[in-house]
Amino acid sequence: MYRSHVLICGGTGCTSSGSAQVIDALEKELKKNDLENEIKVIRTGCFGLCALGPIMVVYPEGAFYSMVRPEDIPEIVSEHLLKGRIVKRLLYQETVEADTIKTLDNTDFYRKQMRVALKNCGVIDPENINEYIAYDGYQALGKVLTEMTPAQVIDTIKASGLRGRGGAGFPTGLKWSFAAKYDNDQKYVCCNADEGDPGAFMDRSILEGDPNVLIEAMAIAGYAIGASQGYVYIRAEYPIAVKRLSIAIKEAREMGFLGKDIFGSGFDFDLDIRLGSGAFVCGEETALMTSIEGHRGEPRPRPPFPAEKGLFQKPSVLNNVETYANIPQIILRGAEWFASIGTEKSKGTKVFALGGKINNTGLVEVPMGTTLRTIVEEIGGGIPNGKKFKAAQTGGPSGGCIPAEHLDVPIDYDNLIAIGSMMGSGGLIVMDEDTCMVDIAKFFLEFTVDESCGKCTPCRIGTKRMYELLDKISKGKARMEDLDQLDKLAHYIKENSLCGLGQTAPNPVLSTIRYFRDEYVAHIKDKRCPAGVCKELMNYYIDETKCKGCTLCARNCPVGAISGNVKEPHIINRSKCIKCGACMEKCKFGAIEKH
């Protein structure tokens, strides 16, 4: 029995801010103080507050330390763990009150959240199946195998209203019922863990923090549709997730949650991992299955849908990680419980990866129907440096931008589509007034041009042409006809592409044209970038009245574009200037402007 548990985040976010070194330092320091038998160190998954990593929570006090460095460890050990005096200096500032510490659930970041899919993330040790079991792990699988028929399982999932969390929002129960309908000697259950949207890390965090939930849910899906084999398709760029899932699969086999005759029910199920090399198109269901089969990851036309002819031409079900993470709780707590959360057509919660110009970068889970304002202003802690909110991008390269006027729209599948964006897998990138919308559209299109697999013409050539038009606009070389051409091309690509990648690729362009047309027009007609981002359209100037002639800018200019005598106003030679902004950064008198 340990008198204290120290939980340290070992997710990718905190690992990259140095949590592994913190754990090393802690283990050494505990040994030095002869405390290793009294205090247990647990490496958990993501707590969500990635901006403040590495994160450390000490129980039984529940003290939440943020941005812990290895140098802080001796103080935490000698003061807190040995003498019981919490090191207030290192606590997450919001939890510190005059004489006591607030519990984490009461901080702005966590108060409005509701953790269903992330229930165990940051709570349990993901590399120890016993901790998952302590939190009701595998109870749902046991219940399904001993008390329910496959049809009852499917009916429960249908009644819960769960929809696919990978982006399109297809009803999960319905998908399972299709695959269950087809008789075959072999069926498959697959998991899409090929999270490819720039800025999205929900699935990775679930795999890193609670890998067993995926195993349990996939076994349940296997029972429901009559499959005995599952595959998790996960990108090789997620080494921590792959490692933890491998450990979990091994432990689950040893405990008999995978293998033959699970729970003495006669049901057999096993699971294997297939690594993807990070091609965005492999997140598309038919391309993903083709890739598992060992072929080049390219989509194929549907129908036949995977429920009829999927992996190896057998009936298959494919769901996203977050979708699966909801399944065990729906079984244990009932479809009514799940259906009571969220909006009329979108039930349950949704995990968002908050990124961009926001104070609390990290992972949040909120009930469907929460407004964007709540997520950005309350949970996200607003926008840094007092800047103004301009737009939020959801759905990554397949989604669109939500402008400030729609901040109060309750977020669910249907509302997002109505305002020209989409749920996507849950990446949520916040943009402030310094963001150029043409530049953003160009960024996402550059991504899809790179990631287009090249199989169908509309996507392969169409996205490239769209990118060229955007490039012209951002360089001030476009005419108004180009904007119409862009719009026409976008609709053509949407209607004629083979798979979801091409069908959604124009969305970032269409939604930015819809809400920020004036910015496009400013680029085209006035040859001006209102946000001051597009380099070709702006110039640096020195204000003669403010320049003191200190020569600092001239000395820092990497191309020698600034000239002038000491104590006299300087001048920038525009033909030499590369617009790097070094002079503006260095100037102590605010004499340099760009417009």
Partner: protein, 123 residues
């Protein structure tokens, strides 16, 4: 894993080991003074005895923690017991045996061990 009952037994056992990670407010708390004075007077074995006894009895809603010096160094080792809705009780000059008795009588049965309290020992 052959039956749901087997899984539930395993869950209950594992839950015991993780009880201290609950954030629930309503639970008994035992706090041992672990400043220099406390440690010098032998607070470490007392703390270990509390932890051990609580765990042996499977009291997973009881937290054992430590605190700094509360200013009565001559009475160390000092342990304080906080029960929901009751005033805290301060035990002084604790030993391992006394710690085990406090768990049995005070935490489990709700009877304060008066003879160990500061009131009985103060002169």
């Amino acid at each position: 894993m052959k039956s749901l009952a087997e899984l539930q037994a395993l869950r209950d056992k594992m839950k015991n080991n993780m009880g201290i990670r609950n954030d629930d407010e309503a639970k008994a708390r035992i706090v041992v003074g672990m400043a220099t004075c406390g440690i010098a007077a032998g607070a470490r074995p007392v703390l270990a005895a509390f932890t051990d006894e609580v765990s042996k009895r499977g009291l997973n809603d009881v937290a054992v923690g430590q605190t700094g010096c509360i200013g009565i160094c001559q009475y160390e080792p000092v342990a304080e017991v906080f029960m929901p809705g009751q005033e805290k009780v301060t035990y002084v000059k604790m030993t391992e045996e006394k710690a085990r008795r406090v768990v049995a009588e005070h935490i489990v049965n709700g009877n304060v061990v008066t003879e160990y309290t500061i009131g009985a020992n103060a002169k």
